[in-house]
Amino acid sequence: MKNALGEVQSVLVLGGTSDIALAITRRLVAQRGARVVLAARKPEACDAAATTLRAAGASEVHAIAFDATDFASHEGFVRTTFDRFGDFDLVLVAFGVLGDQARAEHDPAAALEIVQTNFTGTVSVTVPLAVRLRAQGHGTLVLLSSVAGERVRRSNFVYGSSKAGADGYYQGLAASLVSSGVHVLIVRPGFVHTKMTAGMKAAPLSVTPDAVADAVVRGIARGREIVWVPPAMRYVMAVLRHLPVAVFRRLPIS
């Protein structure tokens, strides 16, 4: 159970190899020796993360298989995982692919891979998650979204639109879960230095996974609905969202 100071005892991470998810989970287990379940397409790829988490104080770490694009498996996956490991105080939805924007512009399969992992897969697994968390009567569901979805730009619009879709879905979901005992937190980081963005030119206001982790853990404790990382991003995006199209397209970040 989450205690009065926002510390959790059990965490499920969908996307167990995500750098940001690892940073968040490491901060959480340092507070309380939580038990962690990492779910990834290849569970063995979570071994390094599992070692780090145990060293950071996790009481148990398990790695299980989860395929974001195998939609038919999601309901069974949620049921077996909760049945096997008990209640989860926190579920972190952290899987996603950046994809190849250039290829995705002429190859439908490449575009679909991005969209189906980031948006459809998120929706598909969230439906049974929300049902199970409701039945549990408590819990926090965290989505790793992105500012890339707040106003989609030319340079990564397939990725951006997939994040916009997932973000929108979670906004509605959060409203539907009011008074259910289940909280939703949407995390919108700007550019984060992770293996997913390795080699890319960093955008302004870029952050590290640890900075995202700090903001998320604070947000969980305070029961926030949306967290921007860094906080200034909120105001930057508010301005960017309302720029006329012609002006927006000329910006270097576009």
């Binding site: 005892q9 008990g86 408590h138 259910s180 005992g181």
Partner: protein, 460 residues
């Protein structure tokens, strides 16, 4: 069956208004309803709830059933010769006082609020300004519904294991439906009260050790923001029941009257941050200055002496939507340094705590996992803040080292690993509990968080 049509799904939390969870709340009207709910709850179990004055998650059950016992509120019998009263478990202490005082009777143990049920008082084995016993000590017998035995009567001697596991058992052995309480006779509904200021915590403790023997009731209200030489400066309040002769002439006509009024109700919404260092410092300063510099005696009503906060309905709302945390521990006599260190750390961390309460216990509770033990007990409220976690975790370590413990009824953030060290008879309690509820049908959020019942995390 029973009242399932009227069951409602509600978000429940403790008095600290933290960690709310959703449960299906039933309001049984009679014993049959209670039995049907306890023997066949939903798959996430059932727990009883009184007036929700425990501060944390003892009386809530995420995704499961909660039995709100407020409809079991009949006073069944008063034996004016023996000085006992038999009540249903949903009767509040406020009701008890209104009924008993005009007859010249008073409960042996009274806590800091009258809005607790008798069932809750037993399940938490509550205590008050009275040093020599906790609530369960004066329970003649009680009736309880357990999954294994159904409805049964427990006597403290004949059914010692089950009785003393149920008292202080946080509702996890069954649902208390009725109890017979031993009372004390009183002449009036007033207290003769002596109030004095102390310079610091050492002065406070010395005066309590020195002078408590002359008083039935004793408590020190500590200004937690004072530091240095004034660390732990307090207002010491001690009293005895007033005899008829001790009343002023004008009061004698209403010598046993008890008709307290609630003066105010808190508005439903208050902003966060009302309780901050500035407001608390101002409040504490006024409170301290208002108390007499030299000892003074006056006659006071039961309500202002025992229940100073009951006058404002829902006072907990002043902490806003983030709620607050209560921390209470007891350490044996000889471990005064723990009290001093706690006050030092709260002062240094500039935690905006209102008055802390310091009392002495001169008895050990017979409840298997009961809180009271001979020693010093300190309790305080603080607004919820993530910064509290390392502060309170550190204090827990000191408390454990000194052989003390934290009060579960106030708890909302204790580390489960410390439970066994704080409550050495925990295994004993778990074994008795397993005989009363072998399938673990009784379940609460506190049980899930602290693993009180020892079932481990896999169970729902």
């Amino acid at each position: 069956m029973g009242d399932t049509d009227s069951a409602t799904r509600e978000l429940l939390s403790g008095w600290g208004r933290t960690s709310p969870t959703l449960a299906t709340v039933h309001r049984p009207d009679d014993l049959e309803h209670v039995v049907s709910q306890v023997t066949a709850p939903s798959r996430r179990g059932v727990i009883a709830r009184g007036l929700g004055r425990s501060y944390g998650d003892a009386a809530q059950n995420a995704g499961g059933d909660v039995l709100s016992c407020s409809n079991l509120d009949s006073v069944l019998a008063i034996d004016v010769d023996k000085g006992t009263v038999t009540v249903e478990s949903g009767v509040s202490l406020d009701t008890l006082l209104r009924v008993l005082l005009p007859l010249g009777w008073f409960p042996m143990v009274i806590p800091g609020t009258s809005y607790v049920t008798v069932g809750g008082a037993i399940a938490s084995d509550i205590h008050g300004k009275f040093r020599h016993g906790s609530f369960a000590e004066y329970v003649d017998r009680m009736r309880i519904v357990t999954p294994a035995r159904g409805a049964c009567t427990l006597d403290p001697n004949a059914d010692a294991r089950a009785f003393w596991a149920t008292s202080g058992g946080m509702g996890l052995t069954g649902v208390i439906t009725e109890a017979t309480l031993k009372l004390q006779s009183v002449e009036t509904s007033r207290i003769v009260c002596d109030t004095e200021r102390t310079d610091n915590v050492d002065d406070t403790m010395a005066r309590m050790l020195d002078g408590d023997h002359a008083y039935r009731y004793s408590v020190a209200w500590i200004d937690c923001l004072a530091s240095g030489g004034h660390l732990g400066r307090s207002v010491l309040t001690r009293g005895n029941h007033a005899t008829f002769d001790e009343l002023a002439g004008s009061d004698r006509a209403t010598a046993r009257a008890y008709t307290p009024r609630t003066l105010l109700g808190s508005p439903p919404w208050l902003p966060n941050g009302l309780i901050n260092l500035l407001t608390v410092r101002a409040f504490n300063e006024v409170w301290f200055r208002k108390s007499p510099r030299s000892p003074q005696r006056h006659v006071e009503g039961i309500k202002p002496f025992f229940f100073p906060l009951d006058g404002v309905r829902d006072w907990n709302r002043v902490y806003g939507s983030r709620g607050f945390v209560q921390y209470q521990f007891v350490v044996p006599f000889g471990a005064e340094r723990v009290v001093r260190t706690a006050l030092e750390r709260f002062s240094a961390a500039r935690v905006p705590t209102f008055l802390a309460v310091l009392k002495r216990f001169e008895h050990d509770s017979r409840s298997v996992i009961g809180f009271p033990m001979s020693g010093w007990t300190l309790a305080l409220d603080m607004p919820t803040s993530p910064a509290l976690a390392p502060l309170l975790d550190g204090l827990d370590e000191l408390v454990v080292e000194a052989g003390g413990r934290v009060y579960l009824t106030k708890d909302s953030r204790l580390r489960p690993e410390l439970l066994a060290a704080m409550y050495p008879r925990l295994d004993d309690w778990r074994a008795t509990r397993a005989t009363l509820d072998p399938e673990g049908l009784l379940r609460s959020d506190m049980d899930r968080r602290l693993d009180l019942s020892g079932a481990g995390p896999r169970r729902r």
